[in-house]
Amino acid sequence: MFVIHFHAVAVESEGQRLILDREDDPRPLRRLRRVVDEVGALKAILMDELIVRSNESGYPVAVEAVIFPSTADDTLQQYVCLTLVVELPPGYPDVAPVVLLRNPRGLDDSVLGRIDREVKEKCESYCGQAVIYELIELVKEYLTSSNLPSCQCAICLYGFREGDHFTKTQCYHYFHSHCLAGHVTSSEKSYQEELDKLPAWQRSQHAQSPCQVLCPVCREPIQCDMNLLSSAAPPLDVENARQFELSDELRSLQRQMASLFSHQKRRGGIIDPEAEDSKLLLVTDTVEQEGQDDPPGPSLLLPPPTSQQAVHQHNSIGTSRGDWRRGGCGGFRGRGSSSSHRNRHRRRHHQAAATSR
């Protein structure tokens, strides 16, 4: 994007040339001047905070600015922000501008909706007059009055209450400090686990680079003060845990699912993990022995909730765990003897297919 610095002289000649170039242009020079003057004045006030987009003739067609609440320039106290984009149609200011609210941070949809409505009203009532500065002020006032994240914490899905400790990331996403602490701990733990899986010579290379925690929402790298985060109390809403109860609706859905299950079972459409697993046992065992140096990957098989079978199934997974990740997925490729693993994998499937016919 490109920022224009206005000079009175340049503006003068620019406006005239535009009119001279396009004699059929119905816009009077006066209107052009007004827009150029308005944008020039804004530029003088906001300086680099205002970005002006111009067309080929250098005539401003849109301005945008990131708006923060007024907190006497204390950025640590700014919890919300948004990018205000004002597009200036050819007839502006006699035609209302098109206003877009982009990249809202810390604002939920209802607050955004209110800002949007007021912006539209302001545009209508200022038709024929310079409105951009008014719009910036309006949004700024709004943000100042609701300078508390009104969105939910993406980790616990609850809002922010008075008294809750919360953290604003560099990317302007919000989490209860307690929730973010859990995410940081968990990220560090999985980083360590991945590190432990590497052969020793690679491990020493990676050990120098510390775990980089990513924002749960946008995956941007974030910096966190763990001492501060981990001392925070859990969010107030989450504290009042409530007992879960199945509604009638859920029960009827459960019944539908159960009947679908038995229907598919009758038609042989249900995967039998035990049968599938035993087909694989032979090869799985050799893989397990050969692959001792590789630590087990995640097991995706689930312990179904009750039943004796569940326990059995769960245990039997233990034997095939080391084999799970060799299917060529996830972040495990490119290490060790992956091609031979792949071949074994294929053989295993081939065998499984043969047995089932």
Partner: protein
């Protein structure tokens, strides 16, 4: 058993109140962390018309770690193996606690619309998908008809 985290309660309620088209998920009677799931085969995919049962389990440290999901209904798909295990990055290293049950199931539904034989889990299926896509799609349709239809 410790109290069910409110996040799980909230997700369960929202799944009921604002259901995702083509997806239903209901917690088990005896374990509210275990969900019975049905995903309908997406339109214009070889799985169209199929009702696929899955199981989804929220581990103790959910949402810090990913739900464990598996197909229960047989399905012919290059990224789903014979045991119903699914190859999907967000279920492993790309998991984020900002993802939810609904986003996971939507991603799985999207995987049915866009099989990716270059990142296979079921190698024999992926092989065929690459060398003879038409036949692979015929197989997928046939499996859907045979195993995943309601009637």
């Amino acid at each position: 058993m410790t109290a069910l985290p409110r996040r799980i309660i909230k997700e369960t309620q929202r799944l009921m109140q604002e259901p995702v088209p083509g997806i239903s998920a209901v917690p088990d009677d005896s374990n509210a962390r275990y969900f019975h799931v049905i995903v309908t085969g997406p339109e214009d995919s070889p799985f169209e018309g199929g009702l696929f049962k899955l199981e989804l389990f929220l581990p103790e440290d959910y949402p810090m770690s990913a739900p464990k999901v598996r197909f229960i209904t047989k399905i012919y798909h290059p990224n789903i193996d014979r045991l119903g295990r699914i190859c999907l990055d967000i279920l492993k290293d790309k998991w984020s606690p900002a993802l939810q049950i609904r986003t996971v199931l939507l991603s799985i539904q999207a995987l049915l619309s866009a099989p990716n034989p270059d990142d296979p889990l079921a190698n024999d299926v992926a092989e065929l998908w690459k060398v003879n896509e038409a036949e692979a799609i015929r197989n997928a349709k046939e499996w859907t008809r045979r195993y995943a239809m309601d009637n």
